[in-house]
């Protein structure tokens, strides 16, 4: 059974004919060609596929595309503006918050949701929040540093 699914992706109206069993991450990557959102474990554990759905971070490998009908979806591609990295992305670069980089889009999307709720998270809060994001390079130390610095830069920007 195929269905036409339409939603807003990074501010633009998009749609695709998909199978009812198509995962949201599959539609984003394969139908819409936005491959910044990664699939790591495909079992809702690693968080490489984290996107924002109506402003909240969710794992797009554990949602059907049809469930996103009419929603406001944001992926890593929509984070930078006019070719300028978002302060959180800049902080990941500055603090070497990535090694192989595979988990990074999910880490950043998750961290942006954290900062929205808690503009000044401490190290413990960052670590607890990133519970659902795994880094197989185990580069957590710098990721936590980057999130803290990114949050600070976002506060300064406000």
């Amino acid at each position: 059974m195929t269905t036409k699914v339409s939603f807003t992706l990074n501010g633009e109206a998009v749609s695709a004919e998909v199978d009812s069993r198509t995962l949201l991450v599959e539609m984003i990557r394969e139908n819409l060609g936005k491959t910044g959102t990664h699939v790591g474990c495909d079992t809702s554990q690693c968080g490489a596929c984290v996107i924002h759905l109506d402003g909240r971070s969710v794992k797009s490998c554990t949602m059907l595309a049809v469930q996103a009908e009419g929603a406001d979806v944001a992926t890593i591609e929509g984070v930078a503006t006019n070719g300028k990295l978002h302060p959180m992305q800049e902080a990941f670069r500055e603090h070497h918050g990535l090694q192989c980089g595979y988990c990074t889009p999910g880490m950043i999307m998750s961290s942006l949701d954290l900062v929205k709720q808690n503009p000044d998270p401490d190290e413990k809060q960052i670590r607890e929040w990133l519970e659902g994001n795994l880094c197989r390079c185990t580069g957590y130390q710098n990721i936590v540093r980057a999130v803290k610095a990114g949050a600070q830069a976002m506060r300064a920007d406000d």
Binding site: M1, T3, D19, S20, R21, D42, T43, S44, Q45, G47, V50, L53, R56, S57, V58, K59, T62, M63, L64, V66, Q67, E69, S110, D113, L114, W129, E131, G132, N133
Partner: protein, 265 residues
């Protein structure tokens, strides 16, 4: 994932109709258990009935002596609700201890208790706080609801609409989480309610249950000392790679003690 037909009805009547017409249909709430199960091809529903477009299932309201939480309310919304935090802070904390942030943004109260995973947190709250489960057909007392492994009193074509939690005099939840999944290896809700002192255990058995020995001991003296002489029988408890049944039996006393201690006992 096997193929299925997807439905997004806008009323409970339509849900009932779809369920009645399709024996192998399943209800989709947050999908945090159902979708992974389907991805592993461990479930093959003919139809999925998504509840997300039905009005009135996502509300949290204070009804005076209780709070009522809709079946589609996400864990993050229970955790962040002023109503819940004021009336039953232990319930807000419990919701905030489920899975990870992204799971809490999707997972729902109704989905959790309809699934009745033996290691899920909400069943301890439902049972410990003497909640009432409202379905599209009737009201079910928590004591009559949890029946066994992934088994509840819900009948075919019956779905959870909301859960009414009476405000307790005091309540605390203590949990020993699996460090990877955050599922409860053992979780214990201790609550002083209008219907008496209740101690509900999740993670240890096939489904959530009341630890009557601990309730009796705490009834005599509400203190961690009262738990000192109690040893839980490991015979019927879960035994898996996460913990042996003996370890779980031990953890019940320890978690109950932590909850009691939080409450000043």
């Amino acid at each position: 994932m096997y193929e299925f037909n997807y439905h997004r009805p806008t009323s409970l009547e339509d849900v009932s109709e779809i369920l009645a017409a399709n024996d192998e249909a399943k209800i989709l709430a947050g999908g945090m258990t159902l979708l992974p199960t389907m991805k592993m091809r461990l479930a093959q529903p003919s139809d999925l009935v998504d509840l997300s477009a039905i009005d009135g299932l996502s509300d949290i309201s204070d009804t005076g002596d209780a709070i009522e939480i809709g079946a589609m309310v996400r864990h993050a919304d229970v955790a962040g609700s002023d109503i819940v935090q004021n009336a039953i802070p232990a319930l807000a904390e419990l919701a905030n201890s489920i899975g990870d942030a992204q799971v809490r943004n999707r997972g729902t109260l109704g989905g959790s208790i309809a699934n009745s995973d033996p290691a899920s947190d909400y069943p301890a709250a439902v049972l410990g706080l003497d909640a009432v489960i409202k379905t599209n057909k009737r009201e079910i007392a928590a004591d009559d609801y949890f029946k066994g492994l992934f088994e509840t009193a819900l009948e075919a074509n019956e779905l959870v609409v909301s859960v009414k939690f009476p405000k307790p005099k005091k309540a605390a939840y203590a949990k020993f989480p699996n460090p990877a999944s955050r599922y409860a290896v053992v979780g214990v809700m201790v609550a002083e309610t209008d219907s008496g002192l209740r101690v509900a255990v999740t993670g240890a058995g096939a489904c959530a249950y009341r630890a009557t020995e601990i309730e009796a001991a705490l009834g005599k003296s509400f203190s961690t000392d009262a738990l000192a002489g109690i040893s839980m029988d490991a015979a019927d408890l879960n035994d898996d790679l996460h913990a042996s049944s003996e370890y779980r039996a031990h953890l019940i006393g320890v978690m109950a003690g932590r909850a009691v201690s939080t409450l000043g006992g």
